[in-house]
Subunit: 151 residues, 3 copies
């Protein structure tokens, strides 16, 4: 099924491509692999979900942050590929969760990204994954996710 | 030499395949590369070594945690491949160590994984590696490791 | 342009190959990809920039740390390849910044590495990137960076 149609069905639309905040490429291709730079929960480059999960933010807010990271990554991929239907599978997800002391549900937070990818791509949206807690993220965002994509 | 025989020689046996705790695949293959999802020191999915290294846990306990992460990953690979002898080399290890303030021996902890892989696979068990300290890991596990494997 | 000449032009020279501190290979090759082990700001294996960015260290010191990580990685690659001109591009940078509480400029710090790579390799030096803050790094180094390189 067409990815943009599927997003529409889910009531979602691709956000604007996030601005670049540093010296890097949003996507780098080697062979059939696309390395996507770590994305955060930003809209037009402005962080919209900030603060530590488990203190300032709930798990549900963390999941929403993970969803926005994912939509930003898809927007970048659409810009790079011209057609999201060229995505064959999600290979790997590395999720960093800004965690308050004693917050230990990082996988639940990153499930916000993984659930969306499965809704869009079906089984192909499910890849390998690691989820860890970190003390600080850029611009105080609550979640940062990097994806490895197969085309 | 046969990997399972080698494990036996070392007095080790593969644990049961860890249950999945989130929306991801334990292993994702692209070409001859296997991306293994981050594993922790769990038995039957229950964390057995928890708490920060350098406070609640010693370096030796951290090394044992890293060994268990590795055995869980091998169990997942056995389940995926059917035959661990198909492993050609360990390409990359990314080790996250739940670290107490001022604990700075993350490489020593992750050596617990690397030493075991060299015991099993010889020089092929030694790949590139990064080891870092993080503030919180899922379910309060002391170590999380993700492997990239070549078949 | 020749990479060593370019380094000379920039007033830089390759440091000695850093000693190995643990059980790993400095570089692991699979096909045309080189996975470089995480490097720190060390000279002859001795950490030269330690402590948390945002407290004991400034952003500028963090950027200098990131530059040294990069030069150490290039030294390792020169040792492995025999000729840095074989590098086709920088695929991916994963930067870990030892961060004081409330320090949120990790991308600025890792730009120290990325800027140098662009100075040396031009556009090919710019790849995908993630930058995160962590609570502790090995030997109290301020920055650890791992690179994925295409030859």
């Amino acid at each position: 099924m067409d990815v943009l149609l599927r997003l529409q069905e889910l009531g979602l639309e691709l956000p604007k491509v996030p601005p670049i905040v540093g010296i890097y490429k949003p996507v780098k291709q080697v062979g059939n692999l696309l390395y996507v730079s770590g994305q955060g929960p930003t809209v037009d480059g402005i962080p919209v979900i900030t603060g530590k999960i488990g203190a300032e933010r709930t798990i549900a807010e963390g999941q929403e942050a993970a969803r926005i990271c994912t939509l930003n990554s898809l927007s970048i991929l659409q810009d790079f590929l011209g057609d999201l239907n060229r995505i064959k599978s999600v290979v790997k997800t590395l999720g960093f969760v800004a965690s308050a002391p004693h917050f230990n549900y990082q996988p639940k937070v990153i499930d916000g990204a993984s659930h969306l990818l499965v809704q869009i791509f079906g089984e192909a949206g499910q890849g390998a994954r690691s989820a860890v807690g970190v003390s600080e993220l850029p611009f105080n965002i609550s979640v940062e996710i990097e994806f490895l994509i197969e085309i």
